[in-house]
Symmetry: C2
Subunit: 214 residues, 2 copies
DNA sequence: ATTATCTATAGATCTATAGATAATGC
DNA sequence: ATTATCTATAGATCTATAGATAATGC
């Protein structure tokens, strides 16, 4: 077990001022969960280090024992949000025996599931204006790789092979835009069941890609 | 002429500390333009009253002569962003001799044009987390009316008339989500010509609505 | 002894008001 | 006299560090 791992029984160090039921998470993960909730609901700039720390159950200053500040929390949350989608995309790209249409549909469905499925609306992090900053280049890199997987799958469809480059880029952007736009729809109506929604979005994405004439 | 209107020649009041070329805008409009730029690029919470005022060419305190604070600027910008789309939507709803398919396409195209066409990426305001606050209920009301226009047009199409209510709502949300998602695409590639992009988005929207099997 | 936490706080903001000032208008 | 602006600033933050403290571990 890592020294910062989830708490077993007795814990070293001064006790927290506000004792609360154990979450089973490490202190760092408690901070990440608190930041996810606050960043997605109030925004990044509007969230203070105090708010994050107290929601995680500790005092403001204690946060600095685990992270260097808000930026680090956002950077880590962002990357953790793309990584699962990217893993899925790589597997689908490798599975080249299956029809590209099916794989594209599956990628869309899975991606929407990840973006909208979590406890907090993690996909909402993509929409924060601060995300464009240079500081988050790591996130942009993995996101670009994911987008390229979309492009490759669209190009591998029967209709996609015939597209000129500019046309392929446009379709890719529209599909990708739909997937990201879904975050806004989910935000405005969070109670809709995610799985049916994800499938409907995947259907819509294939229509945009020009693959389906249902 | 209103007393706060665009400056003709001589101006009453103490001169500004930093004299700059005339913009032709009233001081209030200069503030709105500055706020639009900063809110869309840096975000609302991250933008200080000082930054807005100085970009508008005046000192921080002078801003309060025209607006009560940042909130008022955001509220006004938000409403000004939907209003043109809503006007267009009302006209299209009234023109009931034309096929609903054509009118829906036109609404999508026009809406994308407004969202992405301005000097600053005004559509980006929709993405700010702060926009959900109660304070901006006025914006949400007009936005809801616009969304309802989309719903009515989709329902009026040949295929739309047969949809169950739940299915109609889902299609409406997906189309609306695509239009809003386009803001993100535009943000990531602002150099793409807006008019061609708007038409491609309208095509995609009709496919999602189930209207087109091209 | 080590560790996780705490309390306290310096320094850096940021907002919104008070009151002064430099133009034009009458 | 009226107006648009300015300068100055009080009060309220917010961040990040310094140093104290209360646990466990040896």
């Amino acid at each position: 077990m890592g020294s910062a791992g989830a708490t077993g029984g007795r814990r070293v160090g001064r006790p927290r001022a506000a004792r609360r039921p154990e979450t089973g998470l490490s202190a760092r993960d408690e901070l990440l969960a608190a930041a996810a909730e606050l960043f997605t609901t109030r925004g990044y700039a509007a969230t203070t280090t105090r708010a994050v720390a107290e929601l995680a159950g500790m005092r403001q200053a204690s946060m600095y024992h685990y992270v260097s500040g808000k930026e680090e929390l956002l950077a880590e949350l962002l990357e953790s949000t793309v990584t699962p989608s990217l893993t899925c995309a790589r597997e689908l790209l490798a599975r080249d025996a299956a029809p590209a249409e099916d794989r594209l549909w599956e990628l869309c469905r899975t991606d929407v599931g990840f973006l909208c499925g979590g406890p907090h609306n993690l996909g909402g992090l993509y929409l924060l204006p601060e995300v464009r900053a240079e500081r988050f280049a790591g996130f942009h890199a993995v996101r670009a790789e994911l987008k390229d997987a979309y492009r490759q799958l669209i190009a591998a469809t029967a209709e996609g092979g015939a597209l000129a480059k500019g046309e392929l880029d446009l379709r890719t952007d529209l599909v990708f835009g739909l997937i990201e736009g879904v975050i806004l729809v989910h935000r405005s109506d969070p109670d809709r069941p995610v799985s049916a929604f994800a499938e409907a979005t995947a259907d819509a994405a294939l229509r945009i890609a020009g693959v389906w004439a249902p």
